[in-house]
């Protein structure tokens, strides 16, 4: 029986006091424990950033890769072992700047893994630059005269690409996040879970109070529909309130390996298939 303590490896997080990462980590551990997934049963994939600094603060199989390249890493792992629960973790800078190309194709490919997107609208670890999710006009470390580029809307972007599971949480509501992550871990495809959090040190413009006053759970909204277009409009920046919860899910989603007809008769994982294969038949074509 897994417990929260199982995931403790004695290393204390190094995040700033008040950082949203503490509760995101707590939500993740709770979700795993409640689903009976232990440290040896899961692989976590980390990026470089404050969120990535949590890589060695949790006892689990993990890989901490290159900045912006967490998604293809998780994608490759998911193909190597399609039965392994995988959670990839990254920030808004890594995902929408350096690695946005990978996001586009990960959504299109629908690999089976959960992606926790830490969205604090800044590059925290490199001391406060703007990212594509920073509001226009906001003054940041590398743009002291204000952000010039148009603000990117992550959920609208991935809905357009055909994402099959889109959810949003808030670091101030661990219980909701835990429930979202449990659903995400059971989703049959790429599960995008964005978590709004403030950065205690570099994001003064969307702090905890601001977010807490804006967020609401769509489960409490009787008008909510599980529909792509509906979700697209719901998350527009012009809306007064910020919708959270599972915003869209395609229950009929099939993941990338399931779409490969030539794998349908295979009951094994690629991991267990490394052996000699006789290619003598193939030589006829060259004879």
């Amino acid at each position: 029986m897994e417990t929260l303590q199982d995931f403790d490896n004695g290393n204390l997080p190094t995040w700033c006091p008040g950082c949203g990462n503490f509760s995101i980590l707590a939500g993740l551990k709770s979700a795993l424990v409640e689903l009976g997934i232990g440290p040896l049963d899961i692989n976590l994939c980390f990026d470089i950033g404050c969120n990535g600094n949590g890589a060695d603060k949790i006892n689990a199989y993990g890989i901490k890769g290159l900045h912006g390249r967490t998604l293809p890493l998780a994608g490759g792992i998911s193909l190597g072992n399609h039965e392994l629960p995988i959670v990839a973790i990254s920030g808004d800078g890594a995902t929408f700047d350096e690695g946005i190309n990978h996001l586009v194709h990960t959504v299109r490919s629908n690999y089976k893994f959960v992606f926790i997107l830490h969205n604090n609208c800044t590059f925290g670890l490199t001391t406060g630059q703007a990212t594509p999710t920073t509001p226009e006009g906001q003054k940041m470390n590398s743009c002291p005269y204000g952000v010039v580029e148009k603000r990117l809307n992550p959920i609208q972007l991935i809905l357009t690409l055909g994402a099959t599971f889109v959810a949003r949480g808030f670091s101030g509501n661990v219980n909701q996040l835990t429930e979202i992550l449990k659903k995400a871990l059971n989703h049959n495809g790429f599960a995008y879970v964005e978590v709004l959090q403030h950065c205690a040190t570099y994001n003064k413009f969307q702090d905890h109070q601001f977010l807490a006053s804006k967020v609401y759970d769509v489960a409490t909204d009787s008008n909510f529909k599980n529909d792509r277009s509906y979700a697209y409009n719901l998350v527009d920046y012009s809306n007064e309130k910020i919708a959270t919860g599972v915003l869209f899910q395609d229950e009929a989603s099939t993941s990338y390996p399931q779409k490969l007809l030539y794998r349908h008769d295979f009951t094994t994982k690629l991991k267990d298939e490394v052996k000699v294969y006789d290619i003598s038949e193939c030589l006829r074509e060259f004879s």
Partner: protein, 581 residues
């Protein structure tokens, strides 16, 4: 009559879309089945239609594989073919050309007459139509003519026509008719005679390109995920595996870019399977950070680097050996890697398998260098022997063979730590791109940082002790000339050496397959014992010579370099070697 060097050279040339490659392969395969050794070399520009395509078939009765400067029989399907190649014809050679599309100018005619070249104008389009075919079958008509000139039986080539055009019964029938039309309506004015004799031993060979052989090596050796971004001259590995791999359940995925291809390969390897990717120089540039990640996390990584002229886009469809430095030095930071250079299609199969074993065993990146000449030429080689393929995954732990105290990056004598995979009931670990402890957790501690660097670098010595010595033929002490080379030059060098031996000239040759870690002991001995040492490579800055000097402090005094996108030809190599005697 024919080429003086115990070979026959048939060249088909025309524009893209005229079935040059198809016709070339038919010729090569038919001659192989008739007991001749063949080698097929192609040239083509970077476009889809038009341009100028060439398929040169070298025919021998010994185990040879080099390209000649001269041509005995030219099949010219368009005007450019004549313009570009008429000077290559040997004395009393022959040109079969499309009379509908080509005119031979008086100047060209005069030159050809001086050389006693026999001209066979054939109205290819008319003959194709006569046989009920269309413009696409002009090449088949030309084949019929060629067969008549060679004085060979139609029955030899008919099966190849049937196998090649097997989409529909109608296609087969039409092509056979075109072949027959081309053959029967052809009048040979001067019988072509060659000194070549057929040999039983070549009949059972396969004709295969380097890239196809690499693909088969990957399948045979348990690669379960192959992922790449298309880039010439590596793309045909992707297209070959995309159709063959799935028959064995291999997942073949075209990635959105080279960074994805390399990172996904690492992810899949971290999960416990075997993965492989391939690219050319420019694409490999993009993979260099991934290479660094592989070195740090000690996850096996195998990448085929198929060279073409650079820098930047360079000449996509031509050949070069200009990325040696890239393979040996790419990737920031210090970490061990293995660099293997393939020399022919046999290597392409067996050494791809070996590369996968080395990557697993030493938990290190293995880069396999090839080039357009090797990747896309058609080699005639013995069928692959499956009994030579063994899987070696190194120090793998299974559930029960470790516990929570087992350390993924344990410091060991040979530098190689135990390895296991997520999901295994052993111990957790973090495969960390940060500098890390033996558990994988990030560290900035001075002693721990030094220890890990030393551990990783110590693998280099372990690897060097395992790798085989370079292959050396002859003895530098008693040779008039001592050659050093690498990659696909092997074929043409061996052919030149064979001729020199016949002329009583003693030559030695050190061929380097394992470029890194470099076996300095063997190289130093060879160079020091040489009276007249020369390096042969297809780049301008003599990258291998510089690498050897860096590691041994020994200068190789003479260099034969080529960097025009073409391979060395037999005549070129022979004359350049003789000039050094």
């Amino acid at each position: 009559m024919g080429n003086t060097n115990n070979r026959l050279v048939i060249k088909i040339a025309g524009s893209a879309g005229q079935g040059i490659k198809t016709a070339g392969l038919i010729i090569a395969k038919t001659l192989k089945r008739a007991g001749y050794m063949t080698f097929g070399y192609t040239e083509y520009p970077s476009l889809i239609r038009g341009g100028h395509n060439v398929f040169q078939i070298e025919v021998y009765d010994e185990n040879m594989s080099s390209v000649s400067t001269e041509t005995d029989i030219l099949l010219a399907l368009d005007q450019t073919a004549i313009n570009l190649h008429y000077r290559e014809l040997t004395k009393t050679g022959a040109i079969i050309y499309d009379e509908n599309a080509i005119t031979i100018s008086p100047d060209v005619l005069a030159e050809l007459n001086k050389n006693e070249v026999v001209l066979y104008p054939v109205k290819l389009m008319d003959k194709a139509k006569n046989a009920g075919g269309n413009v696409l079958m002009k090449n088949t008509v030309a084949l019929g003519g060629l067969w008549k000139v060679l004085n060979m039986e139609l029955t030899l080539i008919q099966p190849l026509i049937e196998e090649t055009y097997n989409k529909t019964k109608e296609m087969i029938a039409l092509n056979l008719k075109c072949l027959k039309e081309g053959f029967e309506s052809f009048t040979v004015s001067k019988q072509f005679v060659t000194k070549l004799s057929s040999k039983e031993e070549f009949k059972d060979n396969i004709i295969i390109t380097g890239n196809e052989a690499i693909g088969l090596g990957a399948i045979a050796s348990g690669v379960r995920l192959y992922i790449s971004y298309p880039m010439t001259p590596a793309s045909s590995i992707l297209s070959y595996l995309a159709s063959e791999g799935p028959k064995y359940g291999m997942i073949v995925k075209q990635a959105e870019d080279e960074i994805t291809a390399s990172i996904m390969s690492l992810g899949a390897a971290h999960a416990g399977t075997r993965a492989m990717c391939s690219t050319s120089g420019g694409g490999f540039d993009l993979m260099t950070e991934s290479l660094s990640l592989a070195g740090m996390t000690e996850i096996p990584f195998v990448c085929i680097l198929a060279q073409r002229p650079g820098p930047a886009t360079g000449a996509p469809t031509w050949t070069a050996q200009g990325d040696l430095n890239l393979a040996v030095f790419a990737g920031h930071g210090e970490f061990p890697r293995i660099v293997i250079a393939l020399s022919d299609a046999s290597d392409a199969f067996y050494l791809t398998s070996e590369a996968l074993n080395l990557a697993d065993k030493y938990q290190t990146p293995v880069l396999v260098l090839t080039d357009k000449y090797l990747a896309e030429s058609n080699f005639s080689i013995p069928k692959f022997n499956m009994s030579q393929i063994k899987i070696n995954r190194g120090k793998i732990l299974h559930t029960g063979e470790g516990d929570e105290s087992t350390l993924r990056y344990e410091i060991t004598d040979d530098g190689v730590s135990p390895r296991w995979f997520p999901g295994d009931k052993i111990a957790t670990f973090l495969a960390n791109s940060d500098e890390h402890t033996a558990k994988g957790y990030s560290t900035e501690n001075a002693a721990e940082m030094s220890t890990m660097i030393e551990k990783r670098i110590s693998k280099e010595k372990t690897i060097l002790n395992y790798l085989p010595e370079p292959s050396i033929i002859g003895d530098p002490i008693s040779s008039k000339l001592s050659i050093i080379s690498w990659g696909s030059n092997k074929g043409v060098i061996m052919d030149a050496i064979r001729q020199l031996e016949k002329e009583g000239i003693n030559v030695s040759y050190l061929h380097l397959t394992y470029i890194w870690p470099l076996n300095t002991a063997s190289l130093s001995k060879y160079i020091n014992e040489s009276k007249n040492c020369v390096i042969v490579e297809c780049n301008k800055t003599s990258q291998l010579a510089c690498l050897i000097k860096r590691q041994t402090c020994l200068e190789i005094p003479k260099k034969i370099l080529k960097y025009d996108g073409r391979p060395f030809t037999y005549e070129e190599m022979l004359s350049k070697l003789k000039a050094l005697l």
